[in-house]
């Protein structure tokens, strides 16, 4: 039997995976994927709350978040492509033009 606790646990595990990916991976594409994983974790959180309280506003927020995640992916990918084409770099620790 699945309870709300299971969903919350899944959501927090996914969120932590995303957070650690953002902090410790060097590839820019993986960093973008980590951001998407975190957003998906939050989607699961909202959907589960909505399902167990029979309140629809959580579902509506889920749709908004999906749209915003798409917009964010578009911006992030376009920036990464520009960086690859102009600077020829794809790892975050190679991009060190500004210091201090």
């Amino acid at each position: 039997m699945l309870t709300q606790g299971h969903y919350l646990a899944l959501s927090s595990i996914l969120f932590l995976i995303g957070l650690f990916g953002l902090l410790f991976r060097r590839n820019l594409i993986v960093i973008l994927v980590s951001i998407e994983i975190m957003l998906n974790a939050i989607i699961i959180l909202f959907a589960s709350i909505s399902y167990y309280t029979k309140d629809t506003s959580g579902y509506i927020v889920v749709f908004f978040i999906i749209a915003m995640a798409a917009a964010e992916a578009a911006i992030g990918l376009s920036l990464v492509v520009l960086i690859y084409r102009k600077l020829r770099r794809i790892y975050s620790d190679e991009i060190t033009f500004f210091k201090g």
């Binding site: 820019l28 959180l45 309280t53 506003s57 964010e72 911006i75 992030g76 920036l79 520009l82 201090g100």
Partner: protein, 485 residues
């Protein structure tokens, strides 16, 4: 059958106008050869917006949006700032012609529209969506500079990653609030919060909210993006991020704390004490060793966000109104100093490095004197507006019995005087290094510089009307909020 609510479109006229004009600029930009049309179109639009804001009736558009006294006042301040930013941009883009003008102005209008929606939003989901609408164009506006400075993509990417992290924290806080109260509307959250037994859990939600907003305001543990993003952006956009975006974010944070989290505002203020003291200290110390004046101003903007945040600690509406006053003064000072720096960037870009400014007072005495006024104001020296803003903030802190915080803040602001006075020392006392600049000054330089310098001196001498106006705004807003007629 459910009754549909009456849609009151006259209330959101300003946002609709901005949306239409920005979309039209994007549509027709390809077909018009003379690119200056975008500047005049957006200038006229912003002026019409000012008139519309003045005559818009107060009211609701569904439950999520409400124009009221507070939001209209802050919108007027933002429009004033945007007019100055547009004039500065016109001056800057005359020399940097590879930047695509149409997109540039349209993105500014989109960002302004996001800020407006955010100021009038009455529920947290609308605030989330419009905070994203405010920040997405800014990522592009930073990256647009890569035609001149390829590493500027790095600053844009850093701001993008940190900004998306901030929106994720905002969403987490929304999730916690939704779990424990079951609603997103600010007023209902207030009602549920005051009778809820889950005060500690909702304090966690408030903490996540503060994390998200302190990323947007570049407070200290989350400040690392600010200098890079500021240095890589075109100069007018730097002033846009530093003044307008921060002003809007701060105004919305005040609104959320004032309406939704008012039972917890004292605890939230206490949570903010280390963050704010650290951001004043580190912002001021790191500003000392910067040679690039834009990086110096970036660190000083971190410190200034800290000073403004001191009003949040005091946790009463007088302190909050002084935050609005402080951010307004900071907007005026920043736009003033950047409109002078644009002249340097247009004539000789090396002049943006502080050691190269040596002896400028002999070749361009008038501009040097203007820099002196703005630097004194940023440092907080008495006959200028910056002193008055700091004075009122510290006054509100002392009145609400946080004397030790006020003493520490004043001690840190003494450190903060050094970087500004160093610029003045280099300009006025060092030997001449670069030969003087020959530059043709036109109206797009004189209007912003004239307005800002006169305002800085005037408010510094006679601040009372503006302070009382801001205070009355918040007082009226609160009284209509809690006791609707």
């Amino acid at each position: 059958m459910m009754m549909l609510p009456q849609l009151n479109f006259s209330v959101i006229g300003v946002e609709i106008l901005l949306l239409l004009v920005a979309s039209i600029i994007f549509l027709i930009d390809k077909f018009i050869a003379n690119k200056n049309y975008a500047f005049f179109l957006s200038l006229i639009t912003v002026i019409i917006c000012a008139i519309l804001v003045l005559f818009t009736p107060f009211g609701d558009f569904t439950q999520a949006y409400k124009t009221d006294f507070y939001s209209s006042t802050v919108k007027l301040f933002l429009i004033f700032g945007t007019l100055l930013v547009l004039l500065i941009s016109y001056n800057y883009l005359n020399s940097y012609t590879f930047i695509n003008l149409g997109e540039y102005y349209a993105l500014i209008l989109f960002s302004l529209m996001g800020a407006f929606l955010m100021l009038s939003a009455m529920d947290l989901v609308t605030i989330y969506l419009s905070i994203e609408l405010m920040s997405f164009p800014v990522y592009f506006l930073i990256a647009i500079n890569y035609a001149y400075n390829k590493p500027s993509l790095e600053g844009s990417l850093k701001y993008f990653i940190v900004g998306s992290l901030s929106s994720i924290f905002l969403l987490l806080s929304l999730g916690v609030i939704y779990y424990f109260t079951g609603t997103f509307y600010l007023k209902e959250i207030f009602v549920k919060l005051s009778e809820s037994p889950y005060k500690k859990e909702l304090l966690l939600a408030g903490m996540l909210l503060l994390i998200s907003f302190s990323i947007k305001l570049s407070m200290v543990p989350f400040h690392m993006w600010a200098p890079d993003a500021y240095e890589s952006a075109p100069l007018p956009i730097t002033s846009f991020i530093a003044s307008l975006v921060k002003f809007a974010a701060m105004a919305v944070l005040i609104k959320i704390i004032l309406i939704a989290f008012s039972p917890l505002k004292v605890q939230l203020g206490q949570l903010l004490i280390p963050i704010i003291l650290l951001s004043i200290l580190i912002g001021n110390i790191m500003a000392i060793k910067q040679d690039n004046i834009i990086r110096m101003l970036a660190y000083s903007s971190i410190a200034h966000a800290g000073y403004a945040g001191l009003g949040l600690i005091s946790a009463d509406f007088v302190g909050y109104s002084f935050i609005i006053f402080y951010m307004l003064i900071y907007l005026i000072m920043t736009l003033g100093i950047f409109s002078i720096l644009v002249v340097f960037a247009n004539s000789q870009r090396e002049l943006l490095y502080i050691p190269n400014m040596a002896g400028l007072s002999k070749t361009i005495p008038f501009i040097s004197f203007l820099i002196l006024i703005f630097m004194f104001s940023l440092a907080g020296v008495p006959p200028t507006a910056g002193f008055m803003a700091k004075f009122y903030i510290f006054l509100s802190l002392v009145k609400s019995h946080y004397v030790w915080v006020a003493v520490l803040g004043i001690a840190f602001s003494v450190i903060g005087a050094y970087p500004y006075l160093r610029v003045l020392k280099v300009i006025y006392m060092d030997e001449e290094k670069l030969t003087g600049i020959n530059y043709r000054y036109d109206w797009s330089f004189f209007i912003p510089v004239g307005i800002t310098s006169i305002l800085v001196l005037l408010i510094g001498v006679y601040p009372k009307p503006l302070v009382e106006f801001v205070q009355r705004t918040l007082f009226l807003y609160l009284s209509t909020l809690y006791f609707p007629h």
